[in-house]
């Protein structure tokens, strides 16, 4: 199960890149859907196999972030627009991360 998934995903991403051109066409949305759906199934599968909790949490969150990136870049067209939007999103994500880290700095060390 583990091996075919990344292969399928890379193939899909390759297709999305070539389909983009100027305007995302019908196909791109189909590819993003299948990638996202497969990633969701992968997440669920990870909960069923016997691996350490911390590793599972890490992997699942990584997949969620990857899914978010696909939605932002392709479905929400960030990849096809002026760079400034992507810059904004990056700064915002960093900001949210800092809020979480600083708050946890209190809770972890109390």
């Amino acid at each position: 199960m583990v091996v075919p998934v990344p292969v399928i995903l890379s193939y899909k991403l390759m297709m999305m890149e070539s389909a983009k051109k100027n305007l995302p066409g019908f196909r791109m949305y189909f590819y993003t859907f299948t990638s996202l759906a497969l990633l969701t199934l992968l997440e669920v599968w990870l909960t069923q196999i016997k691996i350490e909790t911390a590793l599972m949490v890490g992997l699942i969150l990584t997949i969620a972030v990857l899914q978010a990136a696909i939605v932002l870049l392709y479905n929400m067209h960030l990849k096809f627009q002026e760079k400034i939007f992507a810059v904004f999103i990056s700064i915002l994500s960093f900001l949210i991360l800092v809020l979480i880290v600083f708050t946890m700095l209190d809770y972890i060390y109390r």
């Binding site: 019908f26 759906a37 909960t47 949490v57 939605v71 809020l99």
Partner: protein, 203 residues
């Protein structure tokens, strides 16, 4: 000049920027809740582990797929309108709305099962459980509830766009409204992409 006109000039780029800025506010709104979730997940890791087993992964996963599918249909409608295909656009928007309703129906059943088991905020049964359980379910109802409200708002938005396409106020060379609606809908999807694993899967 006998009109109290707003000095409006059509600027699609400005309306796109405006929509993105609004999306940023929504991201921060939910970020605050995710922060609360992370704090209490850390504080009550055992309880959260166990409590999340109460949630049905299958229904959750189905809802994820349903929402992802609706993201695809609204995305394709964005292509369809630019190709001037009014009928296809309307079909796709309608399917998106139907998928959104399916999501809500699933959510209704999920909530109803919880209520029947006495697992809802303020219930005697819930208050008898551990603090971690109370917190988990409080967060569950609040966050999925807020998400559902945003989803309903999204359905209203799509309906407005539907009407605008029918009346041809939105068409092949003027589709910023549909595009911005799509952005909002994808945001609803984005939030769920984090809600699902955090509540249903981390156990």
């Amino acid at each position: 000049m006998e009109h109290n006109h707003a000095i409006v000039h059509r600027d699609d780029e400005a309306s796109r920027i405006g929509m993105w800025l609004f999306i940023f506010t929504e991201l921060f709104l939910f970020a605050g809740l995710f922060l609360v979730f992370i704090v209490y997940r850390y504080k009550y890791s055992e309880s959260f582990h166990l409590a999340s087993k109460e949630l049905n992964i299958t229904i959750g996963a189905i809802n994820s797929i349903v929402l992802l599918l609706s993201g695809m249909t609204i995305g394709i409608s964005h292509v369809a309108i630019q190709k001037g295909n009014k009928k296809l656009t309307l079909y796709l928007l309608a399917i998106t709305i139907i998928l959104g309703i399916v999501f809500l129906v699933n959510k209704y059943f999920e909530w109803r099962i919880k209520f029947e088991h006495g697992l809802y905020p303020g219930s005697v049964d819930l208050l008898a459980l551990s603090k971690g359980d109370i917190m988990f379910f409080g967060l569950y109802f609040f966050m999925t509830g807020l998400h559902a409200l945003h989803l309903i708002a999204g359905l209203a938005f799509i309906s407005v766009v539907f009407g605008a396409v029918v009346r041809e106020k939105v068409h092949a060379t003027k589709f910023a409204l549909l595009e911005n609606c799509g952005l909002y809908w994808h945001l609803v999807d984005l939030v769920w992409l984090f809600l699902f694993p955090l509540f249903y899967l981390i156990n």
